[in-house]
């Protein structure tokens, strides 16, 4: 935290501005210390940890069945996918074969989560630029997904549906019907989104050529997800290292090369269409059978370390478990996508205008609990 003397007695006409911790555009408690010269940004320094709960330390005293629930509270918009990553790591350690039905359900759920997450991002992103209507449009359709989730998993946000060996319960009888109804509606709505925001000339002027990140920097900063793909880095884990039935569905990895805010925006808009394509291929072909493999009541991972990479809505999530053969992990590390993406913000914003910072930050799609953990 900068003191008053440091702010005023700054040489070179520099001015220090604090954004946050409580600021509507940071979508959570994130504190940015920005050094300005006139309107131009000289430096952006993120201060984290306002909602640090030490999930990694907590997990050290939770069993392999329990710790999964803590991870829903990291990136709460990709709760399903976080749970999925943890379940996969435990399965990798115990060499559990997951039934086909569970694998199909998991992937469908992951993609529904991705659409819901991108919809919230799209609404909030437009709101950061001063447009309120898109937020209501996005929530209207997102509500359909949360209803499907509620019916199937019993929760709307922190689903905790994935367990080691499969999924917790079987699908709701209406699941397929409702998902199909959603897909049909969503196809027309996504064109509406494009008409409302993407093609808007004011919006494009705010986004194009702003917040540039080169391909080399994207790799060096460890950026993943839409942030890296907008700079032309091929990094979609679903494509490169497929897990569950991702190798059985046809989809394209979306890449753009401009590296600006608009490219990052377009990646997520096009990704939603890819997710729809994937769900359509799977929804009618869910095989019959068990939804959960038979596992022991108490899980013990063998000695060693296990690492899983999955693609969440924000990028690559890594779960690293070090096991000493006990019922609880010896050490757990969550490599969260938002943490690395945020570290590149300084590079993107430097030399730009203060007014563009929020637009740039919006395209990073930050979820603060994911960064602080």
């Amino acid at each position: 935290m900068y003191t008053e003397t440091q702010i005023v007695n700054n040489s070179d006409d520099e001015l220090v501005v604090n954004v946050g911790p409580q600021h509507p555009a940071t979508h959570g408690v994130l504190h940015l210390v920005i050094t300005l010269q006139g309107e131009t940004i000289k430096k952006v320094e993120p201060h984290l940890g306002y909602i640090h709960r030490s999930i990694e330390k907590m997990c050290e005293s939770l069993t392999y069945r329990q710790f999964i629930y803590a991870t829903s509270r990291m990136d709460y918009l990709s709760a399903h996918i976080n749970n999925h990553a943890c379940a996969l790591t435990v399965e990798k350690g115990l060499q559990i074969e997951v039934p086909q039905r569970a694998q199909y359900i998991r992937v469908i759920m992951d993609e529904l989560t991705r659409i819901a997450s991108h919809e919230l991002w799209w609404g909030a992103m437009a709101m950061d630029l001063g447009a309120f209507t898109p937020f209501f449009y996005a929530f209207r359709e997102r509500e359909m997904i949360t209803e499907i989730m509620e019916e199937t998993c019993g929760a709307r946000l922190t689903m905790n549906y994935m367990v080691p060996g499969g999924v917790m319960t079987d699908l709701h009888p209406d699941f397929q019907k409702k998902v199909k109804a959603f897909i049909q509606l969503f196809r027309s709505k996504i064109d509406e989104y494009d008409e409302l925001v993407t093609g808007n000339i004011i919006f494009q002027n705010r986004m194009k050529g702003v917040g540039y990140l080169s391909k080399e920097d994207a790799i060096s900063y460890g950026c993943t997800g839409a942030v890296a793909r907008a700079s032309g880095v091929s990094c979609d884990i679903r494509k490169l290292y497929p897990y569950d039935v991702y190798d059985k569905v046809a989809f394209d990895e979306i890449l753009e090369t401009e590296g600006d805010s608009f490219a990052r925006y377009m990646i997520r808009m096009r990704e939603m269409k890819e997710s729809i394509k994937m769900i359509e291929q799977l929804i009618d072909n869910i095989p019959e059978g068990d939804y959960q493999a038979k596992t022991k009541a108490v899980l013990k991972l063998p000695k060693g370390d296990f690492y899983t990479r999955v693609e969440t809505a924000r990028g690559e999530l890594g779960v690293y478990i070090v096991s000493e053969g006990a019922t609880t992990p010896y050490r757990i590390k969550f490599r969260s996508p938002g943490f690395s993406n945020l570290s590149a913000l300084d590079q993107m914003a430097r030399g730009g205008k203060l007014g563009d910072l929020m637009a740039t930050m919006g395209t990073l799609d930050l979820v603060i609990p994911d960064i602080d953990r």
Partner: protein
Amino acid sequence: MTNEVIKELVSGPLPSATFDESGEWLTIQIDAAQWKQLATLLYNAPYHFDYLFCLTCVDWKTHFTTVYHLTSTCHRQAIVVKAKVDRNDPQIETVSDIWKTADFHEREVFDLFGVRFINHSDLRRLILTEDFEGYPLRKDFEDPVNMIKL
């Protein structure tokens, strides 16, 4: 590039490095003092391990290990480097000049484990407050107020 080739190329300049192939990826075990040399080696041709996707630390009560997960965006191969760090005087060379992502990750490890990264340009606490005492992810950390023992 196969594991055999990597092993051969690494054991030339670093004869004391040991290898472990029992896990998913090839693991190279070294001492903290050798890390900078190995990092420079792995980053450059012919390996091109240009993407550091995870940097963390494990407290083994007798010593620390800093764990680096590296991958190459052109060869699509991953390796793991584990460097042994002295627990009484934990320090290791920074790699934030090679991989920029290490800047934040090293600050996190410093914050939660107390490992000092030599030559790091801005080594301050990242997540916890500046006046916080102790390093919470160490196994001997005790907090009478906030810690719940199960």
